[in-house]
Symmetry: C2
Subunit: 112 residues, 2 copies
């Protein structure tokens, strides 16, 4: 469920994860897909948008009901293992921003 297609009423929370992959990142894609699925099953999960370009730079924004949901997801045991692999093997560089969504706007419908 992508945030593009939601119209939830703020406030809620978002996690902005920006990263650059190393040239060699075996196993990353499979783990990313697994984490996306696992995140979507967590309490308080509202949606996610994820984009990576051909140079290996990516932005993933996940949306959550509250900060408690974010902390629970951060401390999920399978997710902790993925975070460790990311730091050690896959990411050249990354940043993480925990934010409170104050206002949200969506285009009314697909404009083809």
């Amino acid at each position: 469920m992508a945030s593009l297609f939601q119209s939830l009423k703020p406030p809620y929370y978002s996690v902005i994860f920006t990263s650059i992959l190393k040239q060699a990142h075996d196993g990353y894609t499979e783990m990313a897909q697994q984490m996306e699925k696992l995140a979507s099953q967590q309490p308080g999960y509202l949606g996610m948008d994820s984009v990576r370009n051909t140079e290996g730079m990516g932005i993933t924004v996940s949306y959550w009901k509250d900060e408690t949901s974010i902390i629970a997801w951060k401390n999920n045991l399978i997710h902790l293992e993925a975070q460790k692999l990311g730091r050690e093997k896959w990411y050249q560089q990354y940043s993480l921003h925990i934010t409170r969504v104050e206002r949200a706007y969506h285009s009314s419908e697909p404009n083809t």
Copy 2:
């Protein structure tokens, strides 16, 4: 200046712009580059990360000192014209989230 390389102390603000381009989007790339440059010259601008994939989905996150800076940028006359073109010509769909950054973490240095 990308947010990856910053270590500013929260709170500050971010604008998360998620979009899907139409197949035909003549003039979009040039305008996006011009807007990125213009944004970086606005008062309160802190940084920007932008990624678009080959399917036309993009996420741009810009970071700002406060909400006043975001409103001033939204109402910049050249930017207003670009927003109008985006809605009418370039974007199939988009969402915009105005958020307050509560916490931020950065990898210590490039991990090659």
